[in-house]
C-alpha cells in the first residue's frame, strides 16, 4: 500500500430518495467528498435529517449511492459485487457500529458466540476463533463472565463494547460509528470514547465518527465534516472548526453546545441569522 494513500476516500457521493409521484426526490446526500488518512479520525456532524447516517450506511454498503465513488486503500468499492470472496473483502474494508446496541446484537447469541461466528466467517479455525474471541472481549474491557452472557443480560455500555468488538472481529481498516455513544449516559460515553481512542492507537484502524454531538466529536476526531441538508458545508481540523467556525450553520451548532458561558439567547439569534442566509 502506498504510504500516502488515503485509507478511505469518498468523492461526489450522492443519494436521493423517491418521495412518490409528483413530489421531488428527497436528496439525502449531495456531492459529499472527503479523505481519511490511515489511522486518522474523521467526525461527520449535523442535525437529524442532515444525511450523515445515510453517508454511514453508504460507506458500509447498506445503502447504494446514486453516484460518487468510495475507495478504500485505493480500491474502489463496487456498487454490486457478488460472490463470497468479494463480500468478505468488503466486510474487512469497512465495519459499522450501530446506534442501538441491544437491537444490533442477535439476542440468541452470547458475547463469545457472537464474536466466534464473525471470526469463523472470516476464515479462523475453531480453536483460533475461540482464542481471538476472548482476546477481543478483553480488548474492549469485557471479561469471562460477560463472554457467556446474552445481550439482554449486559448493560448498555457493555453491549456497545461487544458491538465494537464484533466490528473489530472482521479486522476492518476503517470503522464507522453511527451515533455509537448517543444512547449511553455521559460517564459511559466517556469510557467508550477512551476505549475507541485506545483501539485506534493500538490497531491503527481509521475511524469515521458520525454524531450530532459536537462535544463528543471534539474529543475523538482530528478532522470534522459538517453536514447540512445533505451537503458538506464545512470541513477542516476539528480544533479549528469548533473554535473558529466559518460557516454560519457550524457557528450555530457550536454555540448550541451547553457549557461555561453558554447563552441560549445567542443560539436563538444565530439560528435566526442562519435561517436568513440559508433562504437567500
Amino acid at each position: 500500500m502506498n504510504r500516502n494513500e488515503a485509507a478511505l476516500s469518498v468523492s461526489g457521493l450522492r443519494r436521493a430518495f423517491p418521495m412518490g409521484r409528483g413530489v421531488p426526490d428527497l436528496v439525502a446526500v449531495d456531492d459529499v467528498s472527503f479523505e481519511l488518512a490511515p489511522g486518522g479520525s474523521l467526525g461527520v456532524v449535523g442535525e437529524s435529517g442532515s444525511g450523515k447516517s445515510t453517508v454511514a450506511r453508504m460507506l458500509v454498503g447498506l445503502e447504494r449511492p446514486d453516484s460518487g465513488e468510495i475507495r478504500v486503500a485505493g480500491r474502489t468499492r463496487g456498487v454490486r459485487e457478488r460472490g463470497r470472496a468479494a463480500r468478505l473483502r468488503r466486510a474487512r474494508e469497512i465495519q459499522l457500529v450501530f446506534q442501538n446496541p441491544l437491537e444490533s446484537l442477535d439476542r440468541r447469541l452470547t458475547a463469545a458466540q457472537c464474536l466466534h461466528h464473525v471470526l469463523r466467517l472470516h476464515g479462523a479455525e475453531r480453536a483460533e476463533a475461540d482464542r481471538r474471541a476472548l482476546e477481543l472481549l478483553e480488548q474492549v474491557g469485557l471479561g469471562a463472565r460477560e463472554a457467556e452472557a446474552r445481550p439482554h443480560r449486559l448493560s448498555g455500555g457493555q453491549r456497545q463494547r461487544l458491538a465494537i468488538a464484533r466490528a473489530l472481529a472482521a479486522g476492518p481498516s476503517v470503522l464507522v460509528l453511527d451515533e455509537a455513544v448517543s444512547a449511553l449516559d455521559v460517564s459511559v460515553q466517556a469510557q467508550i470514547l477512551r476505549l475507541l481512542a485506545r483501539i485506534r492507537e493500538e490497531s491503527g484502524v481509521s475511524l469515521v465518527f458520525v454524531s450530532h454531538d459536537l462535544a463528543v466529536v471534539g474529543q475523538v476526531t482530528d478532522e470534522v465534516l459538517v453536514m447540512y441538508r445533505g451537503r458538506a458545508v464545512e470541513h477542516g481540523p476539528t480544533r479549528r472548526v469548533l473554535r473558529e467556525p466559518e460557516h454560519p450553520y457550524t457557528r450555530m451548532l457550536a454555540s448550541s453546545v451547553p457549557g461555561p458561558g453558554w447563552d441560549p439567547a445567542e443560539v436563538v439569534r444565530l439560528r435566526a441569522e442562519f435561517a436568513a442566509t440559508a433562504q437567500a
Binding site: V60, L62, F98, E103, R108, A170
Partner: protein
C-alpha cells in the same frame, strides 16, 4: 392470535377465547398434562388399550359403558376405548405431517417474500391471496377427486391449503425482524443472504412461529377429522377419530350416544388443549424478548 382454518371447520366462540387468554396457570398445566397423556397413550396404544381395536363381537353391539367395555362398543361390537386410543396415532400423526409440509413451504415462502421484497413479494402475495380466497375445503375435495381419497392425499391437500396461512404469518413476523439492525449487522459482516435467513432470521422467528403452529395443530386435526368424516380421509377399518364419528352416526339415529360422543369428545378436548397451550407458549416466548 386466532388461527383461521382453511376449511372453516373451527369457529371459536368468545367463551373459549376467554379461557385461552385469561384462564389461570392451571389451564396451561391441565392442558399440557392432558396432551402429554394423549401422546403417551398413542405411543403405547397396544399396552394401554384394554382390547384389540378391531376385534368384532356381533353379540355385543352398542353395549353401554360398563366393566367389560369402559366406554361401550360400536356397531360391530368393537371396544370404543381401545379404538379411540389406537385412533389417536393416526389422528395426531396426520396433523403433524400436514403441518411439517405446510411449515416447510410456508416459512420458506414467507421468509423469501419478506427478505427479497419487490416483485418476489408481490408475486407471493398474489399467489397466497388466490390460495386464501379459494375455499379450502373445496380445494381439498378437488385434489382428492383427482388423486383419490385416502389419508396421504388428504394430508398433502390440507398441507397445501395451510401453506398460505403460514406464509402470510411468517412474512409479517419476518418483515418486523428484518427491520432490526442486527440483520443489517450480519450483512455488513459479509454473511450471505441465504445464511442470514437460515441461520439467524428463522431461529429468531422460531418462538413466534412455534406458538402459532401449536394453535394450527388443533385446526389441522379438526380439518383432517372433517375430511375423514366425509369419507375422503382415513378409510375403514381405521379408527381415526373423524371416521369413528361418522360410523357412530347410525348409532345416533338409534338413540345410542356413545359411539359418536367418545371420538367427538376426544377431538374437542385435544383441539381446545392445543389452543390453550399454543397461545400460552406464544405469549410466554414473546414476553421473554
Amino acid at each position: 392470535m386466532t388461527a383461521q382454518s382453511p376449511t372453516g371447520a373451527v369457529t371459536m366462540g368468545a367463551g373459549i377465547r376467554d379461557v385461552r387468554r385469561n384462564g389461570g396457570r392451571g389451564a396451561l398445566w391441565v392442558s399440557s398434562g392432558f396432551l402429554v397423556a394423549v401422546v403417551l397413550a398413542a405411543l403405547f396404544a397396544p399396552v394401554v388399550a384394554p382390547a384389540d381395536p378391531n376385534a368384532i363381537d356381533f353379540g355385543n353391539i352398542w353395549a353401554p359403558p360398563g366393566a367389560d367395555h369402559w366406554l361401550g362398543t360400536d356397531q360391530m361390537g368393537r371396544d370404543l376405548l381401545s379404538r379411540v386410543v389406537h385412533g389417536a396415532r393416526e389422528s395426531l400423526l396426520g396433523p403433524l405431517a400436514l403441518l411439517v409440509l405446510a411449515s416447510v413451504l410456508g416459512v420458506a415462502m414467507g421468509t423469501l417474500a419478506a427478505w427479497r421484497r419487490g416483485w418476489v413479494d408481490v408475486l407471493l402475495a398474489r399467489v397466497t391471496d388466490v390460495m386464501y380466497a379459494f375455499p379450502g375445503l373445496l380445494f381439498v375435495v378437488l385434489v382428492i377427486a383427482v388423486f383419490g381419497s385416502g389419508m396421504t392425499t388428504a394430508v398433502i391437500a390440507l398441507g397445501l391449503a395451510f401453506t398460505p396461512i403460514i406464509a402470510k404469518f411468517t412474512r409479517s413476523v419476518a418483515l418486523a425482524e428484518c427491520s432490526k439492525p442486527y440483520i443489517d449487522a450480519y450483512r455488513v459482516q459479509g454473511v450471505s443472504g441465504l445464511v442470514i435467513c437460515l441461520r439467524y432470521l428463522i431461529p429468531n422467528m422460531a418462538p413466534a412461529l412455534l406458538g402459532y403452529l401449536v394453535v394450527l395443530f388443533g385446526e389441522g386435526l379438526m380439518s383432517l377429522a372433517t375430511l375423514s368424516f366425509l369419507g375422503f380421509g382415513a378409510q375403514p377399518p381405521s379408527s381415526e377419530w373423524g371416521l369413528m364419528v361418522q360410523e357412530g352416526q347410525s348409532a345416533l339415529i338409534q338413540g345410542v350416544l356413545w359411539p359418536a360422543l367418545v371420538p367427538g369428545a376426544a377431538i374437542a378436548l385435544v383441539v381446545v388443549a392445543f389452543n390453550i397451550v399454543g397461545v400460552r407458549v406464544a405469549d410466554r416466548l414473546n414476553s421473554r424478548r
